[in-house]
Symmetry: C2
């Protein structure tokens, strides 16, 4: 007898904007609370935690699976980004997700497409500086997804801290009628934050990659011990990361948790942000200090 | 006894995003079809024709009145743009409009605001080339208004031809659930297209400004007589406009009615677009040829 949790109905997989809009609007018109989990597929337990959170708060959960070309720069890993729709859908079926929106790029960006959403301020430092056009691509596709699947709430992971802040900024600035819920980072037993890109790592690279969560853990211990000199915390993180073999640090910083401006001194809340290449694989991670921890 | 049409109820004037969203959503939830007429105030018969069209097609019409600073460049007439909320509201009361959204700039663009909507392609030539940032400002505010007053249809005047096309492009690209209705240009008896900026003209300047509709009328007569050489039509319009005293031509062109690319030969549809300064006042006008005339 198969495991009971595997006998779920498969979700409906909608490939078109029109079908998805119709299905989601019908739910809203029936008074259902709709949750949206935007993903690029290659689902892991982090994504599934967002789905479960949505299911606990909403009546109807839509998961979008779309590897968005506009948020990759030409030098990045768009072509080799992991894709496995069948395995993704199987995981969502187990959770009982009723609707997956999985469009082709031509459905999202038909010929003549010429509109983008730009974010100033929050989207400029850190990931924005190192990945030109990345947040424009993110904001544009998220705006579209919010129109295609007009949910009451949308769920994002805190691992992509700057992305979550940028999406919240866009929602506030453009008066979008949706609530952004940011969920805790899910980690493997060794401490590495779950990421679809972790599959790129060799076993040896993975050991080196652990310097990222270790540096953040060290920063957290300094903060918990009373250290409020942000530069000292940064310096400790940077030393750990730059001393690790096969790891090229992009940045390690302690920034204001709301504005992302680099801090000299931690007053109330702060976020430690790290990004590095481990071999060819780019990884990011972060740790929140202070009152925002329970965001 | 006062004129019956003047005994209408005054519209509710909402100054906040929140109140407007609540009022419009309540209408939608009650199954009403909502129409939105976005304006910068200084209402004239052109605006009122949009309101009447909305009233003939929708159950509930919202008019927004907001002189949007983001669509003016520093050299333009933001500070002196005509404003008369009381007179505007009186005109809308006569028509029985129930809701006017009239926010302050600080309500639309609070501190920290940092999001904009960018349009490539359609927004680049003509007005886009001469008014850098103009269509970014238009697209951003229109996007916000569509979220603040989530209407089924929004009404724009064909006088601002490129703007209407750009808004349609944004709506299509971002999958916004709203229909854009473009209404015919309303003209004064002398032929000048109605514009809130016409009040800037002296009597003498107004006579000179008539070269714009006259040049378009001449272009129409050439087209109706069978002329399909777009360059010849352009040349005739340009000669008329440049020969007019006190008129500085910005452009006069015959362009594809959908892409706005300048045409050498008119195949099916085309639009003649003109823009000029008359004294310090910048005016635009246009004329559609071919099947798109009935748009």
């Amino acid at each position: 007898m198969p495991n009971a949790s595997a006998i779920s109905n498969s979700p409906l997989i909608a490939a078109t904007v029109r079908e998805t809009q119709q299905l989601v609007r019908a739910q809203k018109q029936a008074g259902k609370r709709v949750g949206l989990v935007p993903t690029m597929g290659a689902l892991h337990a982090g994504h599934l935690s967002l789905v479960k959170r949505s299911q606990s708060e909403c009546d109807f959960t839509v998961v979008s699976i779309f590897v968005n070309p506009k948020q990759f720069s030409p030098a990045e890993d768009f072509a080799k980004y992991p894709r496995n729709l069948e395995a993704d859908v199987a995981q969502l079926a187990v959770l009982g997700v009723p609707l997956v929106f999985a469009p082709e790029a031509s459905e999202m960006y038909p010929p003549g497409f010429g509109t983008s959403v730009e974010l100033n301020g929050l989207a400029e430092p850190w990931e924005g500086a190192l990945r030109p056009g990345h947040f424009r691509g993110v904001a544009t596709v998220v705006m579209k997804l919010f129109q295609i699947a007009p949910a009451d709430r949308a769920y994002f992971g805190r691992k992509d801290y700057q992305q979550a802040l940028a999406v919240r900024r866009m929602v506030a600035d453009l008066n979008l009628p949706i609530e952004i819920v940011v969920c805790p980072t899910v980690r493997d037993a060794d401490g590495l934050a779950l990421s679809s890109r972790n599959v790129y790592l060799t076993a040896e690279q993975r050991q080196h990659a652990l310097v990222l969560p270790r540096s953040l853990q060290f920063a957290r211990e300094m903060f918990d011990a009373g250290e409020r000199n942000a530069a000292k915390i940064c310096e400790a993180m940077r030393r750990m990361i730059t001393n690790e073999p096969d790891v090229q640090m992009d940045y390690a910083t302690v920034a204001d948790a709301e504005t992302l401006a680099e801090l000299n001194h931690i007053e109330t809340s702060a976020v430690a942000l790290v990004a590095a290449h481990v071999g060819q694989t780019r990884l990011i991670d972060n740790e929140l200090f202070g009152p925002s921890e329970r965001n």
